[in-house]
Subunit: 332 residues, 2 copies
């Protein structure tokens, strides 16, 4: 009898933010024998970062949306149950794209081995791309010095939250910008920022000025025009801006614009960050992060849903912006 | 009898670009005795950089326009005829603001001594602020490496022309952007750029693409939106942009805007340049420039009018954009 694995797929193509009803749970057949170079993986964790919602709608960097019934995007952590690849052994932990599935057979060459002693889901988050993104912005594309004021928006997210924590480890004051009192509580409580400004409150520009009375020395941008228009006038002379994400603008066609005259007056340095350029330097970030993680000076805040069948609702929450912390599914 | 010196002043307040008829030639009395700390200078050269025209209209960085009859802005080179300052001797050459005058009595502390053996009017130009501006952009705010393609607009001007020459000395290909065939002839002929694109010609965007087939690695911006919109899409990945001047926007109230998403995609670095931050490092630039100047590897292209009485028409030509090379007046 052919073995099958439970998997969540799109029930139909979508153009609007995903809801739980857009998905279906299927049983996908697994091959009877492993093709050479492949491994059979039991998926432990699935990460539903916001970009996944964009991919599902065909709105991420020109990628086509997955067709209904096809494997869905999202990085996972799995444990190898069987291997037809000489470089991978049973029991190894790997990160990769397995679909939203409990088990999968995938090409081993597309996987990244992770050290389960260092963490499991952390390899998708603070030790993975979101953490790497924060590290690149704070250590490779800017110079943060003790006493500086560092600002980041989407600060309750893992990129922003990690960036602010790194800035503090480098001796800076960290000011976060986030939407809502509960997110700000994560920013100052869980992530330990010095201050957080709620951009949904009237007068948040004045609150930002109070939180950064000497100006903002380094700003890490994840959102777009609304924040840029408020932050850039408060940039210090010789201020630095890392353009990382422009989440407000994905898919809406409006560009985020920077006032060149303002940048000249501020003697600003603006740098664009594309994390894919730095995947080869991931180990540097892990080496930096691990001791801080173990000692609790770096933390990640997660929003964990249990069981594969919880994935559709978790995606709906991601798309609606109601998750708190990094959205994960504990698959098994 | 009180001694006087001939001087050009505004005949009336102006709001439009200056014309020769806006000025008057007067005889200004000089003090009978030199106040302590002052010097009596015979003016040799007067530099009428475009910003002077903006100041006359009250449109330069918030400076008030000079009232009719008051000394006009513009840096000059003079020779000391008499000194009441222990640090300045008769025969010393100095750079400073003397008004548009043949002689002036000024505070010595506001002057900068220049070495007449190194040059005279060059201390206002290629060895002065315009050259320093070019040096800051090409050596302090960007990293130009051999084989790179460097682009600069207003390339027939001294800032742009010097920037391209420095880029070539650093091993880059220099592509200029200028308005008109005669200016482009200066850019490639006098300044030795590898190519020049005339932005007044239809299809200049395609000409730029042909002149920089591998993309633009470093762009030095002096003009504004029109050039930025054409150049930035042609920036190389990891390209660098120096925002120096936004001449098209001075006084018109429109901001020059940069597309943040484009900067991210290009992994661009954008830096604002304010030359006043670097006046303390002028000697570094002079030390770099002098051997190249002497050997003819660095040149400045000047547009010299003879005699103080020629200053009003020279200013009119500056304001109308019809000068070719750096506008100077040989006062005496």
């Amino acid at each position: 009898m052919t073995r099958t694995a439970r998997e969540v797929v799109l029930a139909h193509a979508i153009t609007e933010p995903a809801t739980a009803a857009d998905f279906a749970l299927i049983d996908r057949p697994l091959p009877d024998t492993l093709p050479p170079g492949s491994v059979h993986v039991r998926v432990r964790w699935l990460s539903l970062d916001p970009y996944v919602g964009q991919v599902l709608r065909g709105r991420h960097m020109g990628e086509a949306a997955p067709a209904p019934g096809m494997p869905l995007p999202g990085e996972g952590i799995g444990e190898i149950l069987a291997s037809a690849d000489p470089d991978h052994a049973v029991g190894d932990h790997v990160a990769g794209h397995f679909g939203w599935a409990e088990e999968a057979v995938v090409q081993a060459s597309a996987l990244r081995k992770v050290d389960a002693a260092q963490g499991t889901f952390e390899h998708l988050g603070i030790l993975g791309m979101p953490g790497l993104t924060a590290w690149v912005g704070t250590t490779q594309l800017s110079r943060i010095e003790p006493g500086m004021t560092f600002c980041v928006d989407a600060a309750a997210g893992l990129v922003g939250g990690t960036a602010g924590q790194i800035a503090r480890l480098l001796g800076a004051r960290a000011v976060g910008i986030a939407g809502g009192a509960d997110k700000c509580a994560i920013v100052t409580g869980t992530y330990g920022f010095d201050a957080c400004v709620d951009y949904r409150q009237d007068g948040w520009s004045d609150r930002l000025a109070e939180a950064a009375p000497g100006g903002i020395d380094v700003h890490f941008e994840n959102v777009g025009q609304k924040v840029l228009d408020t932050v850039l006038p408060r940039l210090s002379v010789n201020g630095q801006v890392i353009l990382c994400g422009l989440a407000d603008h994905y898919g809406d066609g409006r560009p985020a614009l920077l006032n060149a005259g303002l940048l000249v007056g501020k003697r600003a340095t603006v740098r664009g960050l594309v994390v894919y350029d730095y995947v080869g330097r991931r180990q540097e970030w892990i080496d930096f992060a691990l001791p801080h993680l173990r000692e609790g000076r770096l933390v990640e805040h997660d929003d964990i849903a249990d069981g594969l069948e919880a994935a559709p609702l978790q995606m709906e929450r991601v798309a609606a912006g109601t998750t708190r912390g990094r959205p994960l599914v504990r698959v098994g």
